[in-house]
């Protein structure tokens, strides 16, 4: 309750949260409003948006309903973003915690691992992995997770390093708690707030990465995401630019909302600012 009150008092976070709720709602109602395949041809091609009541956002070059595609795209885009961010969260927290908790060569080695993934340009790595292992949806999620855990790991490492010096950790060690028990039971719950804020932002990052991949036409060919819709419309920008513009607006709104929520969470969950 305390959290919700703080959240609703933060205007940026509230705006972001409401926008996000809207996108989530679109994803949930998609199968109800548009039960048929959104990629099927429904009417004449190139109906401009806001001119035909049946197709509020118009139709694309093949006569597919833009609104149906956007609404259906919300679910896939969010699902990809959230699962890729969860993958990144698991990898990042594990590696960051090990790098921060252990000194010596183990800490050093895992620190280097973080540096390694900071060095390889994300899209280059994603493109290489997709071309090597194929463009299946599950693989794409794992690949995006694999290239975006580095910021979470860096933050976790810094937090763990700061917390492990506290007296209560020493006390835990004295009572004979295992390292894993201390890391997961004592340190991480304390370090969670900023990690959650950054992970929310990494959902946004994952959505941007996936949309870039789909835009280039290298995403899963069986799934239509917003990025792919922008790419599909690209060849028609001279005659019907709205086909590329509309799905882009959907991406902007979602990523914008996630960034605001992430900022808000960072402020609300920060115990130093709360006191």
């Amino acid at each position: 309750m305390h959290f919700l009150r703080n959240f609703s008092r933060n205007p940026m976070a509230l705006t972001g949260g409401l926008l996000l709720l809207l996108v989530l709602l679109a994803a949930l109602v998609a199968p109800v409003i548009f039960p048929a395949d959104p990629l099927r041809i429904v009417g004449p091609a190139l109906i401009e948006p806001f001119t035909d009541g049946h197709y509020p956002l118009g139709t694309d070059g093949m006569g597919r309903d833009m609104l149906a595609m956007i609404i259906h795209g919300a679910g896939t885009t969010l699902a990809i973003g959230v699962s890729a961010a969860l993958t990144a969260l698991v990898i990042g927290v594990t590696i960051g915690a090990i790098a921060g908790y252990y000194g010596g060569w183990i800490g050093n080695l895992f620190g280097r691992l973080i540096e390694l993934f900071q060095t390889i340009p994300g899209i280059v790595f994603i493109l290489a992995l997709v071309s090597l292992f194929g463009a299946h949806m599950v693989l794409i999620v794992l690949i995006i997770g694999l290239v975006s855990w580095e910021s979470i790991a860096r933050l976790t490492r810094a937090e763990v390093m700061a917390w492990k010096k506290r007296d209560f950790i020493l006390a835990c060690r004295a009572t004979g708690m295992t390292d894993i028990g201390i890391i997961f039971g004592e340190i991480l719950p304390n370090a969670l707030a900023p990690v959650i804020a950054v992970s929310t932002l990494s959902i946004a990052g994952a959505i941007l990465a996936e949309s870039g991949l789909s835009f280039l036409g290298l995403g899963d060919p069986n799934i239509s995401t917003w990025g792919r819709l922008v790419g599909d419309g690209r060849n028609m920008i001279t005659s019907a630019w709205y086909i590329s513009a509309i799905p882009g607006v959907a991406i902007v709104v979602t990523v914008f909302a996630l960034s605001l929520v992430s900022d808000g969470l960072g402020e609300i969950l920060n115990p130093r600012l709360r006191r």
Binding site: T119, P121, G122, L132, F133, G212, L216, V252
Partner: protein, 353 residues
């Protein structure tokens, strides 16, 4: 209450002067030592891991390299395929292959591109200048707009301008760069017809050195802005926060106390110190700028490394793909090394460590 006589003053203490002079003289040496140490402990292990990692990556992929190559080239002659296997050493044990691969990469030999029909290194080097031009212009846009708006936001801390700018920053962070690129094309190339739709120059045009430069500039403008706006959001945030933090430092109070104007304090004392985190972020973000450039090149048909990578991924031209991973990582590492040294040069506190 005259305490200045008790404290050692730099004007009365000759040892302090000698110490300062000694420290200054040894500074290039300290930087050189730092360079050597970073080469040994960072650059070499990172590059080695990346090279070995890419080697195992391609071996973990389904289908051998020669199988893919022969299917892309539509080879079906088994004798020819066997010969290729021997040429690429695929009949040898894995550690021999790895050793040969390492040896070749150290000679900057990434193999042969079967799509472009030239050595991979040559393909990369011919595409590199276009990418560098795009990245540097994008960075210039990002730094200029980001740092200036960051200063403006900080000087209006929590005011309406601060809020407006940070909202704009979040917006440009949220807008996918390929989409911003396309929207720029729609507005400035399709609707207004002010700028060319893509490419790096007008094909067949030769208007002398100045004319060609102008031609390059008009082609560069939109991709650089699209790449730079996304990045500028990050620089704005860093500059703003660093400016606000630096403004609370003791030396700023001192500067005000000695009667300097607000502008002078902002520029000379706050801004200079706020630049250090900006330089750090420049290094951290370099890989992201390279990633952005890959996508932007696809939007604007910009003939750089990104276009080469895209073509190679589509054609499954793996030697080029691996070459670009290794090469671009090397670029990021070298830039970060340079930034690390510049940082050490700019921040005198590092010498004391």
């Amino acid at each position: 209450m005259n305490s200045s006589r008790i404290l050692p003053s730099p004007y009365t203490d000759p040892l302090r002067f000698a110490g300062a002079a000694r420290k200054r003289a040894s500074r290039p040496l300290i930087l050189l030592r730092r360079l050597g140490k970073r080469l040994l402990t960072h650059v070499l292990p990172l590059m080695l891991t990346i090279i070995v990692g890419t080697f195992f990556l391609i071996h973990a992929a389904p289908g051998s390299f020669v199988e893919i190559m022969s299917s892309e080239m539509q080879l079906s002659d088994q004798a020819m395929i066997d010969r290729l296997n021997i040429t690429y050493g695929l009949d040898q044990p894995l550690y021999v292959q790895l050793w040969k691969y390492l040896e070749a990469v150290c000679h900057l030999d990434f193999g042969f591109s079967y799509r472009q029909n030239i050595p991979v290194t040559e393909a990369i080097l011919t595409h590199l200048p276009a990418t560098l031009i795009l990245m540097l212009s994008g960075l210039a846009v990002a730094l200029l707009t980001g740092v200036l708006s960051g200063i403006a936001a900080a000087s209006n801390h929590n005011g309406w301008l601060d809020r407006l700018l940070s909202m704009a920053g979040v917006f440009f962070f949220a807008a996918p760069i390929f989409w911003v690129g396309i929207m720029l094309v729609v507005l400035f190339a399709v609707k207004l017809d002010w700028l060319p739709i893509g490419g790096i120059n007008t094909i067949g045009a030769d208007d002398g050195a100045f004319g060609n430069l102008l031609d390059l500039g008009t082609h560069l403008l939109m991709p650089a802005v699209a790449l730079g706006l996304h990045q500028s959001a990050i620089y704005m945030r860093v500059t703003r926060n660093a400016m606000i933090e630096a403004a609370q430092a003791d030396y700023v109070r001192t500067a005000f106390a000695k009667g300097l104007s607000a502008t002078a304090v902002t520029l000379r004392h706050i801004f200079r110190n706020a630049l250090l985190p900006v330089i750090t972020v420049l290094g951290l973000q370099f890989a992201a700028v390279l990633s952005g450039s890959v996508v932007i090149e696809a939007v604007f048909n910009w003939p750089g490394l990104g276009s080469l990578l895209y073509d190679s991924v589509v054609a499954r031209d793996y030697p080029v793909v691996l070459g670009i991973i290794i090469f671009s990582s090397l670029l990021v590492i070298v830039v970060n090394l340079v930034i690390d040294l510049v940082y050490a040069w700019l921040d005198p506190r590092i010498v004391l460590e």
